[in-house]
């Protein structure tokens, strides 16, 4: 087991290295001039100072050398300074990730719980009314763009019903230290709802299929013959066989979760990583863009790692094989 995990971690490091190369190449290709962007916020600068700044940053060095410089700084834990926030990228990521993490985990839990419950209902009532209605709903939600659903939810709950605030993670005009956990949850609810609504369809359909397979098996037939009721069938056999695969699927879906959070956070002006990366790209904030890209890849990789480990635990056949 430990050998497999260390092998996986080595793989992740290699993957992150490749992501850093790709991301760096892409921002190097960009026609945007970073010095010009930096100076936009700094006011009037003489040409001589500009040349000095270019020399200091090493903008004119060959790309490979710049990449190596950046990578060396990265290994020392220095991701550079963000142009829009004028603070170290590391600090911004740390601060914003705690916001995003709270949002994503709430959405993740919602998705998991609702998805499995609805999936079980669909599986138990296969081809009957509840199954058909929920299945249609799942298909429609799967085809709904996250950002549109966010808009509709914002319109419904914040503009028309006025139940929830329009945006941000805390009430306006309050110090961060004064905000209670309930106020945070209150601000978090709508973006989390948006995120979970677009993603629960997958998990529900998966659970449904799994449960139907289980219920068609011979041991269920035998259990029925023994006189077990539907309820005990579901609790004893159904849930055990569907929940763990669903959990692995959930961990493997971190990429979609992160992608969705970019859109949800932008709509609800929620100060997380997602809205930061969108702002970074629009304002040509290269250090922040690179930092968040790497971080998102790490996040996805960790999700996949957990999913792989869970696979090993659930299915001993996979765990013993070196393939993984």
């Amino acid at each position: 087991m430990i050998e497999i995990i260390s092998k996986q971690i080595l793989k992740i490091i290699l993957l992150l290295l490749a992501v850093s190369v790709i991301a760096f190449t892409l921002v190097t290709l960009s026609p945007v001039d970073p010095v010009q962007q930096y100076l936009l916020g700094a006011g009037a600068v003489s040409p001589a100072q500009r040349v000095q700044l270019e020399a200091y940053w090493g903008v004119n060095a060959p790309p490979l050398q710049r990449y190596l410089n950046w990578l060396c700084a990265l290994l020392r834990g220095d991701l550079g300074t963000s142009l829009i926030y004028r603070r170290p990228v590391m600090d911004i990521i740390a601060e914003r990730f705690s916001n995003s993490f709270a949002l994503m985990m709430c959405a993740w839990l919602f998705t998991g719980i609702f998805g499995s419950v609805l999936g079980c209902i669909m599986g138990m009532y296969k081809d009957k009314m509840p199954d058909r209605i929920i299945k249609k709903l799942c298909y429609i939600l799967c085809s709904t763009p996250t950002f549109w659903l966010g808009l509709i939810i914002l319109l419904l709950f914040s503009v028309w019903l006025r139940w929830f605030p329009i945006g941000f993670s805390t009430p306006i005009g309050m110090l961060n230290s004064d905000v209670s956990i309930w106020q945070r949850l209150y601000h978090l609810f709508l973006p989390a709802l948006t995120l979970s609504l677009v993603s629960f369809g997958n998990i529900a359909l998966h659970t449904r299929q799994k449960l139907i397979d289980v219920l068609n098996s011979e041991y269920i037939l035998f259990a029925r013959a023994r006189g077990e009721s539907d309820r005990t069938l579901l609790l004893r056999h159904g849930l055990r066989n569907t929940l763990l695969p669903a959990l692995t699927l959930q961990f493997a879906s971190f990429a979609e979760l992160f992608g969705g959070s970019v859109l949800a956070e932008t709509i609800f002006s929620y100060p997380g990583l997602g809205s930061a990366v969108s702002a970074a790209g629009l304002n040509s904030d290269v250090p922040l863009l690179l930092g968040i890209t790497l971080f998102s890849a790490l996040f996805v990789a960790i999700g996949n790692l957990i999913a792989n480990i869970l696979y090993g635990i659930i299915d001993p056949q996979i765990g013993k094989g070196a393939g993984l």
Binding site: V19, V27, P145, S158, Q209, F258, L263, L289, I292
Partner: protein, 276 residues
């Protein structure tokens, strides 16, 4: 009317609907969605089915025009994606072991970065605009289809008629073009159509964030992104109707893909019928 006839009928009707949506967007003159400040922010009525936006532009015409832009971008990007996927999938299945593992690593790599982030990066590299959008969507959507093509070719390679063909002295290329590609074509076609909704949704999302098409272009993402500014003052129609139209098109294309799948691949028809 048997199953096949039903599928053919549905495919034709849905296809015709999508083509109609596309053509009507192309045929509506620019004047119909022109700026008219005296009619700004009007609620939906018989004159303006979807209402008007903050510059008095008719939203129904603008939505249809946006839809045809989305369809063009979606078709182009999915086709490029399909070509990439086919080439890479075949290379992985036919090439050496090293190429195969290299390609599967590449797929892991592309899947390892959230799509939206990769799209933002590529759009940033191309200085935004249509080019970045097309490259971005094409570069992020080929992975699942490539896996499918690879698996399919691997399975085909072990078939007896291919082995016979090889014994008869046919070259790899001959086998590829005469035995494999005709077999792969329907699968790829269905794959493209099922890619297409993702491509449209990602196009709208990235335009919504401000990376895709320029703001003067009518696109669903841009209409929706403009609508957010007026949402809090109770102007709801620019948010709801264009989004609904987009979802309807996405669902239609999805359906088209399903019907085509059943038409082209009778083997899986039975099990597919069950899941839908």
């Amino acid at each position: 009317m048997n199953q096949i006839h039903r599928h053919i009928l549905f495919t034709t009707i849905i296809g015709a609907l999508i083509i109609m949506a596309f053509l009507s967007g192309k045929l509506i003159p620019d004047a119909a969605a022109a700026v008219n400040i005296s009619q700004k922010n009007l609620a939906p009525s018989l004159q303006h089915l979807f209402g008007t936006d903050w510059l008095g532009r008719d939203l129904f015409c603008r939505t249809l025009k946006g839809l045809s832009t989305s369809l063009t971008v979606g078709v182009t990007a999915s086709l490029i994606s399909a070509v990439i996927a086919t080439l890479i999938g075949i290379a992985a299945a036919m090439g050496s072991k090293i190429i195969d593992s290299l390609i599967s690593w590449l797929i892991d790599l592309v899947m390892g970065i959230p799509h939206i982030i990769l799209l933002i990066l590529i759009s940033f590299a191309c200085g935004r605009g249509l080019k970045g959008l097309l490259i971005g969507i094409a570069a992020t959507h080929w992975t699942s289809l490539a896996r499918l093509v690879r698996a399919e070719v691997l399975q085909l390679r072990s078939q007896q008629y291919i082995a016979v063909s090889r014994k008869l002295g046919k070259s790899n290329r001959w086998i590829l073009t005469h035995h494999m590609l005709p077999h792969l074509f329907p699968q790829i076609l269905v794959g493209v159509i099922l890619l297409f909704p993702h491509a449209i949704i990602h196009e709208a999302a990235i335009s919504f964030l401000g990376y895709g098409l320029p703001p003067e272009q009518p696109a669903i993402g841009i209409i929706l992104s403009e609508s957010t500014k007026y949402l809090s003052s109770g102007v709801w129609w620019p948010a709801i109707f264009p989004g609904l139209t987009l979802i309807i098109i996405v669902l239609l294309v999805d359906r088209l893909g399903d019907h085509l799948k059943l038409l082209l691949n009778p083997h899986t028809a039975q099990e597919q019928e069950d899941t839908h």
